[in-house]
Subunit: 335 residues, 4 copies
């Protein structure tokens, strides 16, 4: 950690600070410039509160040299993490995964049909929302336990592993046979929930919050890993910006950036990021080109009685086209 | 609800859509312009998914006319809500409240001393964090149940009502004698937690999320009220923007804007918004001038053994000065 | 245009407003709902100030049905615009262009060498900054007229068309033989400059401002086209968000979104968007996959005496690899 | 300047870098930590390109210790700058200024009447737009030279100094008798224009760009000052965020923050920041409470034939009330 002291700092102040820092078991290297004094702090600087130090009258600025994330950090774990899903699918380390399915589980028929169709179209994992986080308390909140049940039936029939979102740690027993537990964007910093899923050994797909930095995403992954669960998959699903043409702004540079910072696999969700079905194909292809380890898209079978497709959902035949293009792109990207 | 159809929509498409809408028990008023056809939908439009309708090929845009929030809406409840706190303090409807105390509860001595000092300086409510949401799993997570205990002791000694943050609905029994339960910014859309505190009758201080709109803040308040708890206090604590000079950007125009939209009281937290103790005084004054119903500030007694003040905490004597200026400003604002 | 009136609007107010609107030569269709009254305004609504109308006490909200952009609008010009560059290169309508070269023109030797190398590696157009917009007045502001001169020499030698940024309409005569004039992000809403380049018939590459919406980008293109110049190329180069891991956030969904909104070609600049040379390859590939009509990248030959590569510049051999991958991706994207 | 080298840097790389830095006439202090090597660079570090240095494979991060702004910096000029306006009004150093007038100059009668009314209500300076930056080329662009003429007549009649926006340096001669030249938000980084107004000795009111940091605002002020003009007034007018309830988000913490960073006076424009007339009073009061040196508001006399007030304009009598409250707040703030 480096602290830069202001030109106005008196010798007394400096000595006071330096002895306090030493009393915290830190080595202090002093580097005296023309105007500024720079302190290099060596040792376990994790105990120092950066904001507090920075607030000292005499301190110009403070900078941590080492990242606050450890277990997720590629520096300490150079090889890609490969997460095994349901005993048959792998993601990361060169293994690419297509996740597809309806936004919400609505009925047995719906899930079963979509499951068969996306499986035939090349999807590796079936997604489906049973517990739905909705901005309004008056909106449909999902089929809950019944929804999980229907997903499990579809898993049994098709053999596809399934992923579904959890919103409450008390529901964990319902997810016993769910293959990937999803933590939604709004719960990315629900630290209590992160700790609980960290105590399981299930693969966890952690979505980036709407206004969270990549560092914060990694710190939330660190919460899960610090409890012992190493099966974490990251998911970029659009961030909140001033632009209103798309629902959110898909931050694809997060893919190569995260690849440098962490060994965990990264999945892109173009459906939620853009909120527009017509943009899913180009953005799924762009995601594959950027080096993502997987793509998660919404697929709907009979959108409002054939009246329209869901705002952000593809039909199974559209998905099939996307899936094949994505795999071609990926071949080029890997060259 | 209004739906604008594209010039390219055929008569067949229009008729198909209109009969579907009518089958949903809606009245449809058709208004034919030179290029566009406008449908006015009357009835219970809550059942219509705007995104879905907007995604129809023939639809240019859809607009809800009525707000999705009901119980928090000033239109349906014109009088200010007054929330009673601990039987002695009121907020809203002209009642102004000063909340002060340490960021984290650290020890019995610390809480007791600060409680006495902020009480003497004019604070109405004592704040103190027992459960601390921290970005890093390795940072101090608060004294938890013991911290609540120490706050309750300080309440007993000084007679001040207390406020503390909850992070997990399973902890609710610990908050039985806490006067205001705080929902932190990161949990503003933890809908499961909102529903649980909505089942109590305790005053809830709901902080705006870092990247949440005022409408979303009100929808989260609606979650609490829809479960029966009418004692909701809103809190603006800075939003995330591109500016890095301050930790967040305090959005003070939220105060008069929320006053129009809702009857609920609004509190400003300048300490977390700016992250800089030196900015707390001017921003607390500005908050009072903007018409806020209360201000919540961090006060620390013995910042790092007198070495510095916390990055965003005032000393009790600084707080006393802020408190008296804020009350003077408020007198002018009310004229 | 649609205006929704509040439930509280009196008949007298409504009649007053309606007769005023009619006096502005508009037809007014009234649609009466249970709570709200909706006015459909037909005619030349361009003369109505939306903000002003919305500010009326009785008005709930106002919505323009038609887009404010005309000449750039794909609705009125369904075919892709193809811009011819220097008589030999085309962009748009299926024609893809690679633009490469140094951030700043530094010397005759530098430009000449990079020009030869990027030409050999497959670049279609040579970029080079002669007038440099710099945040600080003390930073290098470019070689100015001399820089343009060196670019023209490189053009003569290699036969490549050239692109360079203009910052002042008074410099236009210097750009007589420059093939594409670039308007930088900071000048996207320098309307005086837009009008002046609109009076020429040169291809104009218009960069999106750091905090400008796609609509605003199109309105700025409309400024150029409304003066008679139809040769406009749009360029996405990253927007400003809260994320600091990359310099800006590349908004790739802008590519398919702009394709729907406008007939103008769209170029992506991954170098400025990310500010990190290592991210240029994956982001250039993603841009091609998303359907961009061109990519503009920074290439440097002898970065600080071989000490390092520029923060966002590729070496010619890195560029060659990017160029070949981008062309492969493009083949898949076009399938 | 401080450069942190990665643990992976070899001794050869380090020595190579250090000798290159020394060849740039810098002193290099090496501080060796357990993992990281920290270089303290002393001397004229202005010549080093931070981005470039940071892009070196061996470099973890680079940090400038000193701010890049000099003449605007309070460190080098501790006393408040007082700008004299038209020989009779002062701003800064305890002098507070109210600026009021119409958004656009529309007619002789309009300007003359508003000028008399705002003067009577306590305004110190008359504002009025003659050259109007409009997002659409089809919107009213102002009366231009005629508008300036009408403002000058109003100045003559009332004796009030006037302020108006410039959009093109070629128009400077028209501003000979204008007392303050305004640089609008969209031109904050139009460096060519900044340099030209920097060559005059007129007071310049520089508005913060919609997505510009405080540092960038100061760097633009530095452009003006570096050309010799010391009469710079800064203006915060709202920044672009995700929130859509208000047109922009007024960043009032900019006031105390800028006061620390610079000696230049700071004015707040609540009309443009919020875009809503009803919010002007509370935000003007909040601005005064935060310590602003002045407030600029829009006042309109006969809004759409008495039908409504402009979206963001006060009537003269509303302005009078705001003016008196603002002065009362200011008295408290100065205590």
């Amino acid at each position: 950690m480096i602290a830069v002291l202001k030109p106005s700092a008196t010798d007394e102040q400096k000595n006071h600070l330096i002895s306090w820092l030493k009393s915290q078991s830190l080595d202090v290297h002093v580097s005296q410039g023309e105007n500024y004094t720079v302190l290099g702090l060596i040792g376990d600087t994790g105990i120092i509160d950066v904001d507090l130090l920075e607030s000292l009258e005499m301190v110009e600025s403070v900078k941590r040299v080492s990242e606050p994330f450890k277990q997720v950090n590629r520096k300490f774990h150079p090889e890609d993490t490969v997460v095994e899903i349901g005993g048959k699918v792998k993601i990361g380390g060169g293994n690419f995964v297509l996740i597809a399915g309806p936004c919400s589980v609505e009925s047995r028929g719906q899930v079963a049909q979509i499951a068969r169709e996306v499986s035939a179209a090349g999807a590796d994992v079936l997604r489906g929302g049973a517990f739905k986080p909705r901005t309004s308390p008056y909106d449909f909140q999902g089929l809950k336990a019944d929804g999980i049940e229907l997903l499990l039936e579809a898993k049994k029939e098709t053999g596809m592993p399934i992923i579904s979102e959890i919103m409450n740690a008390n529901h964990l027993p319902l997810f016993d046979d769910v293959d990937i537990i999803q933590i939604g964007a709004r719960n990315m910093q629900n630290f209590e929930l992160l700790k609980e899923v960290g105590k399981t050994d299930k693969p966890i797909l952690l979505k980036r919050g709407l206004a969270n930095t990549l560092k914060e995403l990694l710190m939330s992954a660190e919460y899960i890993m610090s409890e012992g669960n190493r099966n974490v998959i990251l998911c970029e699903r659009g961030i909140r910006t001033f632009e209103t043409a798309t629902r959110n702004t898909l931050d694809l540079s997060a893919v190569p950036m995260l690849r440098e910072m962490t060994h965990l696999p990264v999945v892109i969700d173009p459906s939620h990021a853009t909120g527009i079905a017509r943009l899913v194909e180009p953005m799924a292809m762009a995601a594959a080109a950027s080096g993502a380890d997987g793509i998660m898209v919404e697929v709907h079978n009979d959108p409002i009685h054939a009246l329209c497709d869901g705002a952000q959902s593809l039909t199974p035949s559209q998905f099939e086209k996307v899936a094949s293009k994505v795999r071609l792109i990926r071949e080029v990207a890997l060259q």
